[in-house]
């Protein structure tokens, strides 16, 4: 599973990455993580605010911190 975290390097963005990694580990999902810091790259996604989470090319959340339950729903195997 391809997971991207879009963030400008702020604390919240680091926290989102940490949280997502935890959930992925708990679910035993095989995932590649990438943290995108570059603003120009970030603006290619339809987001207006960071932190944002992109799973398999689809923006799941932007501008707020999702709960672990939400994350588990998005990372859960189809």
């Amino acid at each position: 599973m391809d997971i991207k975290i879009l963030g400008s390097g702020c604390t919240r963005c680091q926290r989102l990455e940490q949280l997502t990694r935890e959930v992925a580990l708990e679910l035993g999902v095989d995932a590649q993580f990438e943290h995108v810091y570059d603003m120009a790259q970030i603006m290619k996604y339809p987001v207006l605010s960071t932190p944002a989470l992109v799973v398999e090319g689809e923006v799941k959340v932007a501008g707020r911190m999702p709960s672990k339950q939400e994350l588990a729903l998005w990372l859960g195997k189809p």
């Binding site: 963030g7 400008s8 919240r12 603003m39 603006m43 207006l48 605010s49 707020r64």
Partner: protein
Amino acid sequence: MELLYASLQSGLASLASYLAAHVLLCLVPAFFIAGALSALVPQQSIVRFLGPDAPKWVAYPAAAGAGSLLAVCSCTVQPLFAGVYGRGAGLGPAITFLFFAPAGNILALSYTGVALGADFAIARVVLSLAFGIGIGMIMALLFHNSDTARLASGAIFAGGEGITRRTVTFLIALIALLIAGTLKVDFLTARLVSFDVALPGATAAQTLLDRLVPVDTIKGEEGLSVQGVVLIVMLALIGATALRGLGKVDEGFNRLTTLTLGLIAATLIFAALGVQATVGGLNLVVTGRSIAVVALLALLVPLARRFDAWDLQQWLWETWRFVRMIFPLLIAGVFIVGVIRLFIRPEWIQAIAGANTVTANLAGVVFGIFMYFPTLVEVPIAKMFLSLGMHPGPLIAYLMADPELSLQSILITSAIIGKLKAWTYVGLVALFATTSGLAYGAWVDGAPIAAIAAAIAAFVFAVVAALYFVDKYRSPASA
């Protein structure tokens, strides 16, 4: 050696009276409000008014609203600015957002109000709102040729969640707490009950404090009371418990969370009491303010319980994050201001900016542009200038220019909109900051408001007309 001691003492004294006087009833609630805005208000609720199809009369106020409600954190400013410019309402509202955010957010506003006075806070908001929108419109007019080439896709602005009613009620209660703690009106300062507590040594302690931190009304030094010392100790305790109590709250509420919140509530209530050292004890006065603070704190508990645990955790975590990000810088800033203050002669300030002249206002602006201070530190610096005899006009000019034109904001702007536009923006801000200083100074000096309004209108008209002609001559060449 003596000089070193004197500067250290001046720095610590300024820090002590700052912590005791300003922080608690103003900054503590303000940090909680900032945390709530960041954690509980979905950005889509405001951002949706900034899409490419938004009419101008909606987009500009919405941009200002976004600046004051969403932009407490720098991780919001940059993407939002880029998004509004690149895919949304365009250059004008994006500039308005960028201009208004540093002056219009809740932390800057409440802190200015408490440290410098409500009139400065109001002047700051009104002037930066008016000129933020004004500069945005001028930029849009000036660059309207290049501004139309952008890609229009409204999808990311559409829909989304609105602000729920419980969030609104919660925010209103928090803001009421902030206002009840700081506003100086008869209703709140009225003495209701007063009683004495026997505490031998209180007088001696106050005498000692007065010697360590002298009260100097001419220099604007406030001294330190017994109450202040207690508050500083409580603040340190809160800091110690919050490290785990709030810092780890996103992993679940722990026992320290409850302790931290209890301590904060107790501190706010104690700070709202009137405490005076008397012979052989302390005189405690319950004022309208004390009652209001207690009532509002009690009201906040059921209001907070209406949220999900996760939302509350996010709220507390965000609040603590703001404290950790801003507070150390403020402490350092206030200390350094206290040290520097010793070396600046009031005559220098009065010679440069003692009266409301064009040069004085320009000096304020130039100082604001070249000196970069972290968030909110501009306020204690402004306070120092004020107590050293700076005229309120140039002071407002400085307050307008300093946060708007930091190195950071110039870099962000030029990376996103290009160098030419960025430097035009800088020039316009300098021009408008000088004007606002002159206008506010004239108002303080007693000039009739109609005359000032007319002068500003004439000035804005002249600027717009000049820009219109520049644009007219330029467009055939560029088109």
